[in-house]
Each structure stands twice: as C-alpha cells, then as structure tokens.
C-alpha cells in the first residue's frame, strides 16, 4: 500500500532520549528512519543513500555541527535535504546562532510531540513538492495540498478514468477518498463524519499532504447512488467556479445585507453566504463554514458573482486601488466612491432603464421627468 507520503529521515546520535522519542513518533507516521552514531558516519551514509531529512542535536562545545551543515549544503544542494536541529537552548541569541547555521527548523526541548510531528510534516511537504511516488511501481502520485487541492485530486483521477485511493493528511488528521471508474465511491474521514460533510471538510483543506494509490479495483461502492450523485454535483460546481474565477481561489465582498428589510435583491441564503466573504476567503472555506447545503452554497456563490457582489480578491484590491481617480470636472476631487456606487447602481438598476432627462435647469444636473400623476402616486404611497 502506498498510503501517506513516507520520507526517509536520518537521525544522528540517536542515543539522546529525545531523538529516540522523535524516531519512534516518526516511525509511527510510517516514515523510514535511519540512524548513525556520529556526523562522520552520517556523511558516509549520505554518500551511499539519499535521505529527505536529517535530525540531530549539535554539541555546543565545538563547531563540527556547522562544518557538517556547510559541507552538506555544498554537496546536496539539489534536491535539498531538510535539516532539523534539536536543542535545549532557551537562550534567544543561541537559537539565532543555530538558525544562522542554515538549518530548516529548530525544535526546542522539551518538545510537544504533536507540534514536532506537524512541523516536520509541513517542512517536508514544502521542500518536496509534487513528485511521482517513489514506491518503484510508477503508479502513484504524492505531494502537497498547497499545490493540488482535494477537488483537483479527485478530478485528476476521474479524468484519467482510473480507480484509486486518495490518502490525505492535514496536521494529525487523515482521510481517504475512493474513486472508481470516474466516480467517488467512498469517503472515510478521521472523524467518521457523514460522506457529504466529510467531503466538504476535506475540500477546505489547503495544507497537508496527499498520495494517490492507483488500483485496478476498489471494490463494492460504499456510498449510495444518491450520495454519489450529490458528490458529483458538488465537484462539478466547484470546477465551474474554478473556471470562472481561476486561481487564487479567493473571493471577497464589501457588502453587508441587512436582514430585516431586505427581501427582493438577495435571498436569505445569498445573504448568509455573502457574510462569509467579508474577508478574503476561499470557496472551500465557505463550504466548510456555511450551515447551508453545499449545492446551495455553490449556487449562491455563482449568483453573487453574477450580481457583482462577490469579486475575486485580486480584482477587489485593484478596485480599491483605483478609487483614487482624478476627476477633471471637480478640479481634482477624489472620486473615492464612484466605482463602488456604480457597482451598486448596476445591481439596483437591472431591468430599470433610465428615465429620460428633461431640460437641464440652471444647474449642472438634470432630474427625472416624473409626471404629476406619478408624483401623486408617490405622495399617496407615503400618506
């Protein structure tokens, strides 16, 4: 089984109790652990075998650790080896000295096992982007979720018309998605949640690792036909949105809908979705946060984009920047609100053509030619 990405990690001087503990934890995570008793022995090992990371505790009394890292960087520049140093030094200056040794991360004793594992996973995930799996079979794929999201992974397998198990890991949480002949047929989440809910949670994972294990056969589908159809619909919607807004998968709004007196322009579902984008947010995150059905969230996002109320974050920022427009009419007055209002006008005025202007009075602007009957109607409305 290919499973989660497995790394080869060399631990130097593993007689240290803490290093021994780290070795045990890393083994539990299915990483392959190699050991050497000294820096010299480690270097000899590296000449024979390739590793993904080095873990050791340099002595304070000599600079052999520094020489070792220098030589390592010169010899193994590409692909780089992650160097993680364990230290009991709480002294700030000493920690900086260690970081200046060109190491990749520093774990301070005593360490929290979960934090240590997460830091090592994140570091390795960053240093080793998408690569073909090294299982020797040539039939797997592994990499970072920062480069391929869960939706992309599923689509990849579906488009390839293959059957596969997608293994996912985000911090200490793991999940598995089974795809068979173009269809998601099983989702197993770390928290045993229902399949649709699990999928939505997984779509929100933006960091972590994945590996795809291609198989000839997955077995009998574990999801019912209704769930499979819903999942297909969700994935299609995500893909369509992806096509509309591209990357980065981030949207933002500046509009807040008032709930009490608002009935026509936005539905209550649209209002609740809009609120999720007051700060830049990905669609995946919105799916995870919303209490609405996923299909409804996606439909609302479509609708809000069409209405101009949701913008790609980069467009939103550009619009903000462009507010400072020189206005020749007002002699240089900054028209800060113009774009914002024009967007709102376009929303409100949809389906409502301009009333033709009457003759301009003495001033700069015209006014609508409402008939007396229309004015009477307005007056009557507010009587």
């Amino acid at each position: 089984m290919v499973g989660l990405p497995s790394y080869k990690i060399l631990i130097i001087n593993s007689e240290s109790a803490e290093l021994e503990e780290l070795a045990r934890l890393l083994k539990e995570q299915r990483h392959r652990i190699e050991k050497s008793d000294s820096l010299e022995e480690a270097f000899q090992f590296l000449q024979r075998e390739r590793v993904d990371a080095l873990l050791f505790e340099p002595r304070l009394s000599d600079d052999r650790g520094k020489s070792f890292i220098d030589q390592l960087r010169r010899t193994y520049a590409e692909p780089p080896i992650a160097v993680i140093v364990l230290t009991e030094e709480a002294d700030h200056e000493r920690r900086i000295e260690l970081l200046e040794l060109d190491i990749d991360d520093l774990l301070q004793k005593p360490f929290d096992p979960r934090e240590a594992m997460t830091r090592i996973d994140v570091l390795l995930g960053r240093m080793r982007p998408l690569v073909l799996d090294e299982s020797g079979q040539g039939d797997g794929l592994s990499g970072s979720l920062m480069e391929m999201g869960v939706a992309d992974l599923i689509q990849t397998v579906i488009i390839a018309d293959k059957s596969a198990i997608i293994h996912l890991q985000h911090k200490t949480e793991t999940a598995r998605i089974e795809v068979q002949k173009g269809e998601v047929c099983g989702i197993h989440s770390y928290d045993q949640s229902a399949p649709i809910e699990a999928l939505l949670n997984l779509l929100a994972w933006e960091e972590g690792r994945f590996s795809i294990e291609f198989r000839n056969e997955i077995g009998k589908p574990k999801l019912g036909s209704e769930d499979r159809a819903r999942i297909a619909h969700i994935l299609r919607s995500v893909e369509q949105l992806h096509e509309i807004i591209g990357e980065p998968f981030s949207l933002q709004t500046k509009y807040v809908a008032n709930s009490s007196n608002f009935s026509g322009t936005l539905s209550s579902a649209e209002r609740s979705v809009l609120l999720l984008f007051l700060e830049p947010s990905s669609i995946r995150r919105a799916l995870a946060l919303s209490t609405l059905e996923a299909e409804q969230v996606l439909q609302c996002i479509h609708s809000l984009i069409r209405k101009g109320l949701l913008l790609k974050t980069e467009d939103y920022r550009r619009a903000e920047d462009e507010q400072f427009v020189f206005n020749p009419v007002s002699g240089g007055t900054v028209l800060g609100a113009k774009q914002q209002f024009s967007r709102i006008f376009s929303l409100f005025r949809q389906g409502a053509p301009l009333i033709s202007s009457g003759e301009s009075p003495a001033g700069f602007y015209n006014r609508p030619r409402l008939s007396k009957a229309e004015l009477m109607l307005i007056r009557q409305k507010f009587a």
Partner: protein, 165 residues
C-alpha cells in the same frame, strides 16, 4: 430575482449621522442594503411601473466623492439630515448644504431630528416644513417615528410638484 420596472427615480440621503440615514431608509423602503463602508441603499416600489431608490451616503464626507453624475439622470431630490440638538451636526449639515447648492440644484428637504429631545414638542411643528429657497425645504423630524419620516417624503414630493407646476 430582480424585478423589472419601467421607471425609477432616485433620492440621495445625506448628513453627518449614518444612524439617521438608516432610520429614514428603514422607514421609507421595503428593502435596505448596508455596505461595510457605511453606505445604505434602499428601494420601494410605488407602482408596477415606478420604483424609488434611496442612497444613504454614510457619515464621512462622501457627498464630495459621490458619483453625482451617475444619479444625475434620475435624481428626484435629496434629504439632508442632522441632529437638531447637536451643534457639530448642524455645522456639518450647513457645510454640506453649501456644497450641494454650489454643485447641484435638485429639490431637497433639510431635516432637524428631534428624537433626542428631552422636552415635548408640538406635533404640528414636525413634518410640515417651510421653504427656505425655491427648491429647498426645512422641516423638524422625529427619526423615531415612521409617520414623521413619511411626512418628510411627502414634503419632498410637494416641493417637486410645486416647482414643476
């Protein structure tokens, strides 16, 4: 779903207090939308063919930045609201009124809000108003009263009707 109407007219709501603007819009509109940067937009349908849009511009000095040219085609009038008991509010309202008179000649109602008053005010003084120029009316207003807000709206319509004969 957006509804289709044939004709619309627009009303701009100004003044140093966004809270007052929101109150007026809530009283006069069927639908109100607030934006994060303190603007309020509302609309109310008058008939199958006519709809009114209201734009509350918020507390900042947006009247200078406002896209007047975008609403110019359809502007019916404006409301300029201030707190009758607050000298600073009155001062800012005066500055806005000066700015408006230089740039723009729509009909308008300047309204002093009495909602914070500690002494009883004769109801007849509220919402009737008087003209202070050919197009501009002044009125006292009780922002806590929907009836008073509706009276302001009637006053604006009266101003337009009087001027258009």
């Amino acid at each position: 779903m957006l509804r289709s109407v044939q004709r619309t007219a627009e009303i701009v709501v100004l003044g140093p207090s966004f809270a007052l603007q929101k109150r007026l819009l809530t009283h006069l509109c069927n639908e109100v939308v607030l934006t994060r940067d303190n603007c309020a937009f509302g609309r109310t349908r008058i008939s199958n063919e006519l709809e009114l849009y209201f734009y509350g511009l918020g507390e900042s000095d947006k009247s200078k930045d406002f896209a007047w040219d975008l609403v110019a085609d359809k502007i019916l009038g404006f409301f300029l609201l201030f707190n009758w008991f607050d000298g600073a509010s009155f001062q800012k309202a005066m500055e806005t009124a000066d700015e408006l008179s230089r740039r723009f000649d729509a009909h308008g109602v300047i309204a002093g809000d009495l909602a914070e008053n500690l002494v009883p005010v004769n109801e007849k003084l509220i919402g009737y108003g008087f003209s202070i120029s050919e197009r501009i009316y002044f009125s006292l207003w009780n922002s806590a009263s929907k009836a008073s807000s509706r009276a302001l709206m009637r006053l604006l319509v009266d101003a337009v009707m009087t001027h258009t004969g």
